[in-house]
């Protein structure tokens, strides 16, 4: 069973994604603190990280950079959730090694598709 960590400060979003992914059979861990997000990832070693960009204290982008900077954690694919829609934002996000960029509001169904797709691809690569 693939383990997925969702990092977001919005409890409703966490709840919604958690419910969706759990139904799809994934093991889901939620985390609301951006500050301790990297530690959590390191501890959990998930197969995928769903990360919200707009978080207080440390932004999702910073967390992403930290993860990619860690050689052990770098391979973990990341899906970035964001309300940002500008192109350069997207570019910025992608340049940080984000696998997928999902703009809010999003369809949980589509998100699930992305997750499955990424994990499949990732599985093939490894």
């Amino acid at each position: 069973v693939k383990k997925i960590i969702i990092i977001d400060d919005e409890p409703f979003i966490l709840m919604m994604i958690e419910d969706k992914l759990k139904r799809a059979g994934f093991r889901v861990i939620t985390h609301r603190e951006s500050v301790s997000a990297v530690e959590k990832v390191r501890a959990e070693r998930p197969d995928l990280v769903i990360l919200d960009w707009m978080m207080p204290e440390i932004s999702g982008l910073e967390v992403c950079r930290s993860l990619k900077a860690d050689p052990e954690l770098a391979p973990i694919p990341i899906i970035m959730l964001t309300a940002k829609s500008q192109e350069d934002d997207e570019r910025l996000g992608l340049s940080c090694g984000v696998e997928r960029y999902v703009v809010k509001p999003f369809s949980p169904k589509v998100l699930l598709e992305y997750v499955v797709d990424i994990l499949d691809r990732h599985k093939k690569e490894t």
Partner: protein, 1086 residues
């Protein structure tokens, strides 16, 4: 008589006519009858013929008779006419006689021809003429007498005056009646009476006489007259009277006196003449002589021969030829004559100039001659001397000219040597100069001598050899032939083949400086004149030599002067530059005063200024205990400073002690100064101060000292002016500096080399420089990063462009604080001076972060808004989708729906906030103003937020002092308070306290929201209230960045004021002052 003559004439004529007519008639009648008888004899005549013939004879007779009658009438008229004509002279004579009898002698009878009557008329005429002449003569004589200038009297034999003329009256004052009839002796005193009587006695014996006598005038005045007296003879030759003609003798006496005096005067003049003067007759015998001539002849001059005096024969004296005698020439030619006689007497020549003038009589014959002898020996000698000197001078002038043409010794002496040889015609020469010590002579220039010889005879000790002796004795040495001269025995000059030679000293003003040599290879005689000329050449050369030395000395002195000038200029420059760096007046004056004291080696110097009361006040002194501002001289004191200021010119007193009239003030009295000098210091045209120096020793300050002092005064004036100007400028500068400093744009100014002149605070902070980098190059201002290095290059480029007068604009980035990239727009401008030349460069650095920040805020806002929108939407959309898909378990469905609802509300809240803000900002919002109680308002809000607060663990307290009315839109005010409380809660941790306060002050209602939360970082405070701005804390909170913007706008439309105080870590206080009443509304509460 006339009638008698005419009648007799008529009778005579009538008789004559009858005697003539009667015979004619008788004859005629007889003839006619004879003729008839004859004719009868020839042929008898008819009666008729006889009758005719008779008739004819009768007619002839009648005609003859009538003719005779006419002749008779004519004779009658002719006799009357002739009679009258014969009688006319007689009548004229008669008339003339009658006229003459009447005293008219002017009648002149007509001419009567040669007849007896004519003779009578002629005699008569002559008589009349003679008589007329006599009468006229007598009248004339009478007039002469009356017109005679000389007075006269006529005396009878009794010596009684019988007549006088008007001149007599004029001279003596007596009228005719006063004199005529009086004895002549009444007009003189007794003494003169005796003389008169004696003279009259002679006249009585028939002799004339002329004598001087004094008469007494009517006014009692004694009048001397020259009387010419003569007897008057009667017809029989007896003396009948005397006539005396007087001549006024007063003038004559005066003239005689003057003449006598003139004679004496002339004599005195003549005697006082130094020249001998004699008057001689034609035989050259002396008639008279003046005292000089007497002296010359040793007395007894009269009667001697002029030669004896003027050219006495004596042994050894050459006689003067007679034809040379000017006196003889005067007598022979009748014109003045002049001659100079030369005498050779006992070895000396003397000269006499003799001038003779003719004395002529009335006929023009030269009777006598005046001869004047003058000793002209001196003059003559002088003339000779002048002539000689002239010749000499011509030679010397030539040499002098050569000497004066240059100041280079070599050039001069070579030229002089050449010139001298040319003039004297000698074969060669040399110049020897004495050494400095005056011991040895060295040959410096030579002509006509072989180099070898010159080498062997180059140096002579003074006193040895001929040149040495000449130098020692300063006497010229000449010889016609050196070989034959015993003085030249063993002389080295003999070896050179020199024969005639002259050594003469080159004499300076005080001493001999060398020896000149000219020589020829053949014997030659040097005349005394030659020697003299050579001597003069020596003197001139000596003078020139000294001149050259003097010139050298002067050149050195000039160099010294130049040096001093340079030193002075250096000092002045130093002063000027020192003063240029000073702006403190006292400091400047101290510097100037001390420099004067030091440079002019004075003992004391000070600067006194005229204060507002007209006193002279000390501003600076070289060294004295006198405090600045001390009044040194009261107004109007007599001191050099006042004199300098009032006279506007330097005042020098070389000797203060001896009656200079200068008062030294008490401060200087004890110093015993001897010399003082003061110059005025000007401000524009007005002298307002004086700089003076004092010396303890007597000294005449030199012109350059005064000049120096004046220059210092000028420099000080300029410096003072500059200081004053600086003060004024500083005010202006302060303002512009304040502006520049307050600008957020960085401004850097540099000179043309790029050295930084000024940099404002903004620029300093951009370059992250702590201290003023003035002087460093602009390109090196920014460093520490690649961007900054690039920026430095850009600044250098900007400098280059501006120096070309071109502006430059570039957008770039620099590294700001903490490595932040700061976008910068660089503008470089050339700054020009008043001549239009680029004098400096101005760099303006605009920090575009602020502009970019606005852009960023806009995006941030959009991002924020989109976040605020998209996050709730994400929940709504996602959850709705899941519910619809039936993926949500029942027990969770409600939570999902509640979330959807809540997020939907949040969305609408954001939308309304934005709309509100837009409405208020756009001025479209109309406030619904009403009076509300501030306390109630606060309590309502507190109640609203208490659940959230409780949840966060924050206490919300409300404190209001009674009802507090405030005018406003309740909805907006609530929105305002909500935003503030929301912020307080958002930026506070658990345990914090939020106080809501309401108070009233000065008609204002103050609402305060105070929390003990995180506080706002300092950097953010200034941005608070700006739209879209979210502080540093914002990242950890959710917010739109619109809250305070809204607050600010609401306060603004309520005409209130917003004040935010915050301290990081301690909390924030927001005060809002609102008018208790709406503007224009009356305060009913009071």
């Amino acid at each position: 008589m006339k009638k008698t003559v005419i009648y007799s004439l008529f009778a005579f004529l009538l008789l004559f006519a009858f005697a003539l007519v009667l015979p004619v008639i008788v004859t005629l009648d007889k003839a006619s009858r004879g003729m008839v008888e004859e004719m009868e004899k020839v042929a008898p005549l008819s009666t008729e013929q006889k009758l005719i013939f008779g008739r004819f004879v009768d007619a002839a007779r009648d005609d003859f008779l009538s003719l005779s009658f006419y002749v008779f009438i004519a004779v009658l008229f002719a006799s009357v006419f002739l009679g009258r004509r014969l009688l006319r002279p007689v009548k004229e004579l008669h008339d003339a006689a009658a006229s003459m009898k009447g005293g008219n002698y002017g009648m002149k009878p007509g001419a009567f021809g040669d007849s007896e009557l004519g003779d009578v008329a002629a005699v008569f005429d002559a008589m009349a003429v003679s008589l007329r002449q006599k009468t006229e003569e007598l009248a004339l004589k009478e007039r002469y007498v009356s017109m005679m200038m000389d007075p006269l009297w006529v005396l009878d034999n009794e010596n009684i005056i019988t007549d006088i003329n008007p001149a007599f009256t004029k001279l003596l004052g007596y009228a005719r009646e006063d004199a005529v009839g009086y004895p002549v002796f009444d007009f003189m005193d007794e003494v003169n009476e005796k003389i008169m009587r004696k003279q009259l006695g002679w006249m009585e014996s028939g002799e004339s006489s002329s004598y001087e006598i004094t008469l007494i005038s009517k006014h009692g005045e004694a009048i001397p007259v020259l009387m010419s007296g003569a007897p008057i003879f009667g017809d029989g030759g007896e003396v009948v009277g005397k006539i005396g003609i007087m001549k006024d003798f007063r003038e004559e006496l005066a003239r005689r006196k003057a003449l006598r005096e003139a004679g004496e005067h002339c004599r005195v003049i003549m005697d006082s003449m130094p020249d001998a003067l004699i008057v001689v007759d034609r035989d050259h015998n002396i008639i008279s002589a003046n005292s000089a001539a007497e002296e010359m002849a040793d007395g007894g001059i009269a009667g001697r021969h002029c030669h004896e005096i003027f050219s006495p024969q004596s042994p050894g004296r050459q006689p003067v030829a007679l034809h040379d005698c000017p006196v003889a020439a005067v007598f022979s030619k009748g014109k003045p004559h002049r001659a100079v006689h030369e005498f050779f007497d006992h070895g000396t020549y003397t000269y006499k100039e003799i001038i003779a003038y003719p004395i002529k009589d009335e006929s023009g014959t030269v009777r006598n001659a005046v001869a004047l002898a003058r000793d002209v020996t001196e003059k003559k000698n002088f003339e000779r001397e002048v002539a000689r000197k002239n010749r000499e001078l011509e030679t010397l002038l030539d040499i002098s000219k050569t000497l004066s043409q240059s100041l280079r010794a070599e050039e001069i002496f070579n030229a002089v040597l050449d010139r001298l040889l040319e003039l004297t015609g000698m074969d060669g020469g040399a110049i020897y100069f004495l050494d400095e010590m005056g011991r040895e002579l060295g040959c410096h220039y030579s002509r006509g001598l072989s180099a070898e010889y010159v080498k062997s005879a180059a140096i002579f000790r003074v006193g040895e050899e001929i040149p040495g002796r000449v130098a020692a004795t300063e006497q010229i040495f000449t010889t016609a032939d050196l070989a034959a001269d015993e003085r030249a025995e063993k002389s080295v000059f003999l070896h050179a083949g020199i024969r005639a030679c002259a050594f003469f000293p080159i004499r300076g003003k005080e001493k001999t400086t060398g020896v000149f040599l000219v020589f020829s290879f053949s014997p030659r005689y040097f005349s005394p004149e030659d020697e003299q000329i050579l001597g003069s050449v020596g003197e001139i050369a000596g003078m020139a030599f000294e001149n050259i030395r003097l010139y050298e000395k002067m050149r050195l002195m000039y160099q010294h002067q130049k040096w001093r000038k340079g030193d002075e200029q250096r000092k002045l420059l130093e002063l000027a530059s020192v003063l240029a760096t000073k702006l403190d007046v006292k400091d400047m004056l101290d510097t100037a005063v001390n420099m004067i004291k030091q440079f002019l080696r004075a003992d004391f110097a000070w600067f006194l200024e005229v204060d507002s009361r007209g006193n002279l006040v000390l501003k600076s002194a070289s060294d004295s205990g006198i405090p600045e501002g001390t009044v040194i001289y009261e107004k109007g004191s007599s001191c050099i400073e006042w004199a300098a200021i009032e006279g506007k010119k330097p005042v020098v007193v070389p000797d203060l002690a001896s009656g200079s009239g200068v008062d030294l003030p008490g401060h200087l009295a004890g110093q015993n100064f001897k010399t003082a000098c003061s110059v005025p210091v000007y401000s524009g045209a007005e002298a307002f101060a004086a700089i003076s120096f004092y010396c303890s020793s007597f000294r005449q300050p030199k012109e350059e000292d005064i000049y120096f002092l004046q220059t210092v005064a000028n420099i000080v004036d300029v410096a003072l002016e500059r200081a004053r100007l600086y003060d004024r400028l500083m005010i202006g500068k302060g303002m512009s500096e304040a502006i520049i400093e307050s600008m957020s744009d960085g401004i850097i100014t540099t000179d043309t080399n790029g050295s930084v002149i000024t940099m404002n605070n903004a620029a300093l902070s951009m370059a992250r420089l702590g201290q003023d980098p003035a002087g460093t190059h602009v390109a090196g201002l920014f460093s520490g990063s690649e961007e900054n290095d690039r920026f430095g290059l850009l600044l250098a480029e900007g400098l280059k462009e501006t120096m070309k007068g071109v502006r430059l604009r570039r957008e770039t980035v620099i590294t700001g604080a903490e490595g932040a990239v700061v976008p910068i727009v660089l503008n470089a401008y050339p700054a020009r001076d008043k001549e239009g030349e680029v004098a400096s460069a101005v760099f303006v650095l605009r920090d575009m972060s602020r502009h970019e920040e606005v852009d960023r805020l806009k995006s941030e806002f959009l991002r924020s808004v989109s976040h605020e929108f998209r996050t709730p939407l994400a929940a709504i959309v996602g959850m709705s989708e899941m519910i619809l898909d039936g993926e949500v378990p029942e027990e969770k469905e409600r939570i999902y729906l509640e979330t959807i609802l809540g997020e939907g509300r949040k969305l609408s809240g954001v939308v309304s906030d934005l709309l509100d803000l837009a409405a208020i900002e756009g001025g479209k919002e109309v406030l619904r103003m009403e009076e509300i109680d501030a306390g109630a308002l606060l309590r309502e809000i507190a109640g609203e937020f208490s659940p959230i607060a409780q949840k966060k663990g924050i206490t919300v307290k409300v404190s209001t002092g009674g009802p507090l009315p405030v005018s406003g839109d309740p909805g907006r005010l609530k929105q305002l308070l909500r935003n503030l409380v929301e912020n307080s809660l958002a930026y506070s941790d658990s345990g914090a306290v939020v106080d809501l306060l309401a108070s009233r002050e000065d008609g204002l209602c103050e609402l305060t929201v105070r929390d003990t939360g995180w506080g706002i970082p300092e950097d953010d405070i200034k941005h608070l209230g700006e739209k879209f701005y979210r502080g540093k804390n914002a990242a950890s909170t959710r917010g739109k960045g619109l809250g305070l913007s809204l607050v600010k706008e609401i306060v603004r439309v309520h005409c209130g004021a917003l004040k935010i105080e915050s301290c990081k870590g301690k909390g924030t206080t927001v005060r809002i002052s609102l008018p208790a009443r709406r503007p224009g509304e009356k305060d009913n509460n009071n």
